[in-house]
């Protein structure tokens, strides 16, 4: 009997495709997310918007918080650890969490090395802004990629930028010769094997979600039409006026992302979305997407 194989890790990620992964901070929110149709919940101490507001060092959640959420739902539970903090990852794995997000939303613990994700039984998801970053994370063992976007802003512009960048880089690979692929590997600082595999498949070799700033059903459908396999919604749900309604609407819009009539219907009378932040107002050194490399 084999545990923790690449097939099992990447397979787990494949089962989330077409779904919405929602940030939750307690059992009550987790139950609301599950009832609304979340494919998984991300157990956190604070949603990104509150992490941004609080400042200071953001770390993995208290184990009691994670356990509370694990006990509250039947769907898979994910949790975030700091970039490079492999002991936080060991702790999260020992709690029984299903997937780890090595996340730029928390304060990085290592400025040189991401976690060696091949050393873990459970799979990891990591953020990326471009093809090279995505392939480097996959090379380190990530079983799933998500765009970084700019978490906690309710502003989808950065997630769009990152998704478009990754998709257009993949499209460019299509007609390249062997030597040209070598050059791409060098320029993007990513392993040749993964560059070739991406060119062959015409997509990232692992599941690729959108994250960072998705706040409305239309945002979710936009990311799906841009080629995302699914979406993470962080602050967008529980910082809105009607979390239950917004959560249900985003699930529907993610499934039926090409059906404008349905998106119109589910977007009607949702109340106030989370307040958004203009990316230009965030000083560059406070942008979460700049964390990691």
């Amino acid at each position: 009997m084999l545990h923790g194989t690449t097939v099992l890790k990447e397979g787990f990620a494949k089962m989330t495709k077409g779904g919405v992964i929602m940030d939750v901070v307690n059992a009550e929110q987790a139950a609301i997310a599950e009832e609304a149709g979340a494919v998984s919940v991300m157990a956190l101490e604070r949603v990104p918007a509150d992490i941004r507001a609080a400042g200071g060092v953001a770390r993995m959640a208290d184990p009691s918080k994670v356990k509370e959420i694990l006990d509250a739902v039947s769907i898979p539970v994910m949790a975030k650890v700091r970039i490079g903090h492999f002991v936080e990852a060991q702790v999260i794995q020992s709690l029984g969490v299903d997937m780890i997000d090595e996340s730029e939303v928390l304060t990085p613990a290592d400025e040189n090395y991401h976690i060696d994700k091949t050393q873990f039984t459970i799979p990891f998801v990591c953020g990326a802004r471009n093809l090279g970053e995505a392939l480097r994370r996959i090379n380190e063992g990530a079983a799933m990629i998500r765009t970084k976007g700019e978490a906690g802003t309710g502003n989808v512009v950065e997630a769009v930028r990152h998704m478009r960048k990754i998709q257009s880089a993949i499209r460019e690979l299509k007609d390249k010769t062997e030597e040209e692929l070598w050059a791409v590997a060098r320029e993007t600082e990513s392993p040749l094997e993964l560059v070739k595999e991406t060119a062959k498949q015409g997509r990232l070799p692992v599941v690729n979600f959108a994250a960072g700033g998705i706040a409305t059903p239309a945002d979710a459908a936009l990311m799906m039409q841009l080629g995302a396999d699914g979406v993470f919604v962080g602050s967008g749900i529980f910082k809105s006026e009607n979390p239950e309604l917004v959560a249900k609407a985003i699930v529907q819009a993610t499934t039926h992302y090409k059906d404008a009539d349905l998106i119109a219907k589910v977007s009607t009378n949702l109340g106030e979305a989370m307040p958004g932040i203009d990316i230009g107002e965030i000083p560059e050194n406070e942008r979460l997407q700049e964390r990691g490399w």
Partner: protein, 204 residues
């Protein structure tokens, strides 16, 4: 060959629908196309997103994913009602097995097409997910179990196709088939081909 040609007499082509609400849909799509090609059957594989899509299908496959999510969306789209009205053969893997059952240990929307009780995540959380050799159709098979369920009780007429560590992991009932593991994550088409034969029997 002759039996198959006979079976297909008078049938223009068969259409297999892959439920496309959530889960590893593209993996099922690919292996279903491959199976149909192996069997040399004139066919079409469709993605099913609405109730009206169901009416074009001779058989349907429900992928792995989250059974709670797929169940809710099947209800909302009217797909559930359409499947039950149309009475077509359905194959389910993992979440699909849960949805085919009559009962689980959790309150959720089910199709109830196979007389069985299913224990969701019966083998544990993701850290307990596993790959191991199992036996099915009298041969070895690579079982990929991801937060997999197992069947805890079956009705009298349910055929047990495979068990693993004394737990039932694959069943057939009427023209329906369910597995706790993921044939769509392998290159092995045996289980899909078995299902396609069931669909052919029905179309006849």
């Amino acid at each position: 060959m002759s039996t198959q040609a006979h079976r297909l007499e008078g049938i223009e082509m068969i259409r297999i629908g892959i439920l496309d609400l959530q889960g590893d849909v593209s993996e099922h799509f690919k292996i279903t196309e491959k199976s149909l090609k192996n069997m040399n059957i004139e066919s079409q594989v469709l993605k099913v997103k609405t109730a009206s899509d169901v009416s074009a299908c001779d058989g349907m496959i429900i992928s792995g994913g989250e059974s709670t999510v797929i169940g809710k969306l099947m209800e909302k789209t009217g797909i559930k009602k359409e499947i039950l009205t149309k009475k077509i053969p359905v194959m389910g893997t993992c979440a699909g097995m849960v949805l085919l059952s009559t009962k689980t240990d959790y309150e959720q929307s089910l199709l109830g097409l196979i007389d069985m009780k299913v224990k969701r995540n019966g083998f544990g959380r993701q850290r307990s997910s596993f790959e191991d050799e199992i036996e099915i159709f009298g041969g070895k098979y690579k079982g990929i179990f991801i937060r997999a369920p197992y069947v805890s009780e079956v009705g009298d007429d349910v055929e047990i196709l495979a068990s693993y560590q004394d737990k039932i992991v694959a069943v057939a009932f009427g023209n329906h088939i369910a597995t706790a593991f993921h044939p769509e994550l392998t290159d092995d088409t045996r289980i899909h081909e078995y299902f396609i034969k069931e669909v052919l029997n029905c179309v006849e």
